[in-house]
């Protein structure tokens, strides 16, 4: 399943990606020839029952799980073609991908600013610049007033915003979110999704989220249903949402 060609290159292109675990009788096909293209400024959801392969797909896009076959292109760079084409996947993740987690996964021993700055520090940015960028991001996500707070002192919504700031620290154009609103109430979930949309537009980024949260389905541009490792259909009803240069009607599932 590949999206229709467009004048703008896709940020994520998945072509016939398959992944199985185990062999023989115990073999489980987690992904079966999944193809997908996601363009800049799109916020898409991966939906499906447990074991349908959505987390496996997210891990393959995030370069933390090696597929068995297929091709993966991230931000114009072919990174997987039957094998990883880059040896430093860690660097690849650092440069191109931001991660947002279900339970925010902030490092408990760092305050909000350092939780964001650590991503820059790992990329080799000097401490002063890293902290300045971290504060800037926290302000952008309207949580700047909590920049010295430790994670244990943050509310769920504040912690998730700090986590989003960390995901954006190295200006990645692909943001993978694993149930980003699962630990939040519907009000905060809405705020977080609005923030992700804002990020997608402002940073010209693509956001791919695994979710079960039906309260936020209307916040996605596309919702891709996975079942038994197959990408079945786009169940989005939000076809008229403006996506900058793209609309849901451009997508062929």
């Amino acid at each position: 399943m590949i999206t229709k060609a467009n004048e703008q290159a896709p940020l994520v292109r998945i072509e016939n990606v398959s992944k199985h675990f185990g062999t023989g009788d115990t073999r489980v096909d987690a992904l079966r020839n999944v193809s997908l293209e996601i363009y800049p400024r799109q916020v898409v959801a991966l939906l499906g029952p447990s074991g349908s392969g959505k987390t496996t797909l997210l891990n393959c896009i995030g370069c933390i799980l090696e597929p068995n076959s297929g091709r993966i292109t991230l931000d114009g760079e072919l990174v997987y073609d039957g094998r990883w084409l880059r040896s430093d996947l860690r660097r690849l993740r650092l440069e191109k991908i931001g991660f947002i987690f279900q339970f925010h996964n902030l490092l408990p021993f760092l305050d909000s600013t350092d939780n964001v700055a650590v991503a820059l520090d790992l990329a080799g940015v000097n401490a002063k610049t890293a902290r300045a960028r971290a504060v800037e991001l926290l302000d952008y996500l309207e949580v700047g007033h909590r920049k010295h707070a430790m994670p244990s002192k943050l509310s769920g919504g504040e912690a998730q915003r700090v986590a989003i700031a960390r995901a954006l620290a190295n200006r990645p154009r692909i943001i993978l979110a694993d149930e980003p609103t699962a630990a939040l109430d519907s009000h905060r979930s809405g705020i977080v999704m609005d923030l992700l949309r804002k990020v997608a537009i402002d940073q010209d980024a693509a956001i791919i989220a695994v979710t079960h949260d039906d309260k936020i389905f209307d916040r996605f541009d596309h919702i891709f249903q996975l079942r038994d490792g197959r990408l079945e259909r786009d169940v989005s009803t939000n076809s008229d949402r403006s996506l900058g240069s793209k609309t849901f009607s451009d997508i062929t599932v």
């Binding site: 650092l94 987690f101 021993f109 650590v118 790992l122 694993d178 149930e179």
Partner: protein, 379 residues
Amino acid sequence: MNLAYRDTKHNLLRFILTCFGLSLLLGIVITMTGIYRGALDDALRLVRATSPDLWVVEAGTNGPFAESSRIAGDTREMVARIYGVERAGSVTYQSAQTKIGNLPLRLFIVGFELDRPGGPRRLVAGREIMRNHYEMIADRSAGLALGEEVPLGTRGHKFTVVGLTQNELTSAGDPVAYVTLLDAQALQFELAPPITRREASRGGASVNSDLVNAVVAKISPYVSVNDVAAAVSRWKHLSALSQEQQETLVTRFVIEKQRKQIALFTVLLVIVSAVIIALIVYTLTMDKLRSIATLKLIGASDRTIIGLIVQQALSMGVCGFLIGLALVATFRGYFPRRVILVPDDIAILFAIVVVVCLAASSLGVRIAVKVDPATALGG
């Protein structure tokens, strides 16, 4: 950004308590080496107290410290007449147990001839022995004060403390007390009055108490000690040992078993320390698995993760060692044995602690390196 430092700062109380616990263990390791050094120094101090050049002892023995030696009291005159001997003095050594009030007191009595080699090296209080009888110079560790009277021997004579020395102990930790040779011979060889009367009534020969354990001699710097030793050895009933030989006997034989015991306990304690550090590092790593997975997922290298684990293990070990060292240095005076901290020993122990920390952190490092970044995703 130093993640190890930040994590430590965040859990400061836990870190301090862990370091304190570790410091007690490492403090015991430091104390063990200090006890050995103390025992060695005490043993050598006694041998070196008179700093003679030659020890004349009973033939065929390694006396008077490694084994018993008895020679006739007039041996000193014979030795003094040998060419090259500048000064000679008879000495006796014996352990004595007495009571001050209700408290038991154990002393190592050295009998020496006044104005001859064999007496105490340096007094820290009081004066030299000036009377032939019933005066004593004791080590401060005995807890005796100047002028205090100490009952000794089977006849209950009281010895007055006239001088004090410092750090004059045996390898067993008993304080050394100096008395005149005559008093020491009486203490060592005279029988209690009832036994004397019994011996006299059964017509037994009177006991010869003119015996000494060794003769110490100062040799002229212009004469070879070996030549004098050879001259002494021509008398078949005597043996001669140089000061160096005597020190070797003491260090290699007298406290050898003690050295082995202390070494064994030290090794066991180091192993226990290693296991405890490994367990602490393992626990700390398990507590941080999610953080480690998150760090790896957002791009942290294995080197960063290993650095986090190893730096924490090292900081725990080093802080524990330094606190332990400070505790030992502060409280060693209250220990019933002399504890001597030798810089070389401390440096070696420190190096061992560093190696142990590195080895102990390997378990945590293995777990941390194996953490799958994907575990950061999902609930």
